[in-house]
Amino acid sequence: MSSRSDRKVSAREHAAQLRAAQLRAERRRRLLSAGAAVAVVVAVIAGLIIAKLAGAGASTPSAASGLASSQVMTAVTSVPAATLNKIGVGSAQGGPQHITAPALTQAGKPKVLYVGAEYCPFCAAERWPVVVALSRFGTFTNLGVTSSAGNDVYPNTPTLSFHGATYSSQYLSFTGVETTSNKLVNGNYAPLDTLTPADQQTFTTYDQPPYVTGQGGSIPFIDIAGKYVSSGATYSPQLLQGLTQAQVAAQLKNPSSQIAQAVDGSANLFTAALCQATGNKPGNVCTAPGVTAAAAQLAKG
């Protein structure tokens, strides 16, 4: 009798052990499935990173670069004074901000330092008014034409380039630095110009709050003789979308054009700041109604 009862207990224990083993196996199977799912997720992320590092993310090709045509050069460097005067500040926003800093000079003349990059759409927008303004004080040679990167915001914004360009003026000296091109090489934009240690120091020091508003280290950055700095664009690159450099340049003489309102208005703001650096020389530029209107705007801050 006792032996029969023992056998029953033993059978129940055996069945319970079997069920426990089955439960453990089932749980192990499900844990392995969960582990496999997590491994797949990690593999997908790793695959994306590896594909990126291997250069699978080739960018949209940017438009070809080269020297600006004489047509573009003439249109940009000879905007009629009547147009500039009629526009005044136009639709330009912000503009150079007055700072208190040691004078920035080169070869005994007030120095203008521009730091930008060819990939940057906001730099693309800002080069137009900078060239229009500086052309009232001197002469550019070998200005390039290019466009912002095709894979960034405001892709392929048509513009000029200071890479390889020179500027001569009896009033000012100018250094234009394009740190990178608009072409990706191994996931980074190819380097172009290098800042001198002194220019790097200027950029690092004054492209920061409180000298500029917004995020420090942004481009385009412009330092006008240590008297004014500007960080960012004075109008949206959206205005230039879908146009060629020649089409943009051709708009600058038309005071009713939205592009002229932005570019020429901004150029007047830069001209007013440049006049502060040159001691209001040349007089015919610095006393022009468009420039005095812009100077009043700058004084308001």
């Binding site: 069945a15 069920r19 089955q22 439960l23 089932e26 749980r27 499900r30 844990l31 499935s33 969960a34 799912a37 997590v38 997720v41 990690v42 997908v44 992320i45 994306l48 990173i49 594909a51 990126k52 699978a56 993310g57 960018s59 926003q93 730091v115 990059a117 990939y119 940057c120 759409p121 906001f122 730099c123 927008a125 894979n151 960034d152 915001v153 740190t179 990706l184 996931g187 980074n188 508003t213 917004g214 995020q215 280290g217 942004s218 481009i219 385009p220 960080s231 960012g232 664009a233 004075t234 109008y235 949206s236 690159p237």
Partner: protein
């Protein structure tokens, strides 16, 4: 047999949700308060502003940061203690389904950062990592949860 996952996993899931909620809240705040500057941040591949102001920062007009905030708010709710104590399998299934959708969205955002924006936002990466970890924790939780198969085995059928 306990119907609840180990307490450590419950705490881990809730902690990840709260961390995700805080980072998403910060990114949402930044999205709505940061001034739109017409400038390119010159800081290379690690560039949060470039990511959070790109065309990919909105989906169907809704800020991605806000979607992240709503996701983590929902996940936090699903990972609160009362919902761990439910006998119904649905909270667990809802958690896993939601975190899987979140994970698919993370794949899309990582792809956009790497191949379209060409910049990485570290705050966004923190959110992506938290989502991945949450998926791992909830996958284990779901694996440990009793199922109909367990019940059949337990009943000796």
């Amino acid at each position: 047999m306990s119907t609840q996952p180990p307490r450590g996993l419950q705490v881990a899931a809730l902690s990840l949700c709260i961390a995700g909620l805080l980072v998403s809240a910060y990114l949402t705040y930044e999205h709505f308060t940061a001034s739109t500057t017409l400038a390119c941040p010159d800081t290379g591949a690690i560039n949060c502003a470039k990511v959070t102001t790109s065309d990919y920062s909105n989906v169907a007009g809704i800020p991605v940061a806000l979607l992240g905030l709503l996701f983590f708010a929902g996940m936090t709710l699903l990972c609160t203690p009362p919902l761990w104590h439910q006998h119904s399998p649905w909270p667990g299934r809802a958690r896993l389904a939601a975190v899987t959708v979140g994970l698919l969205f993370v794949f899309y955002l990582v792809w956009a950062e790497l191949f379209r924006i060409n910049a990485i936002c570290l705050w966004c990466t923190v959110v992506h990592a938290l989502t991945l970890l949450l998926f791992a924790v909830l996958a284990v939780v779901q694996a440990l949860a009793p199922t109909a198969v367990d019940e059949r085995i337990g009943a000796g059928r």
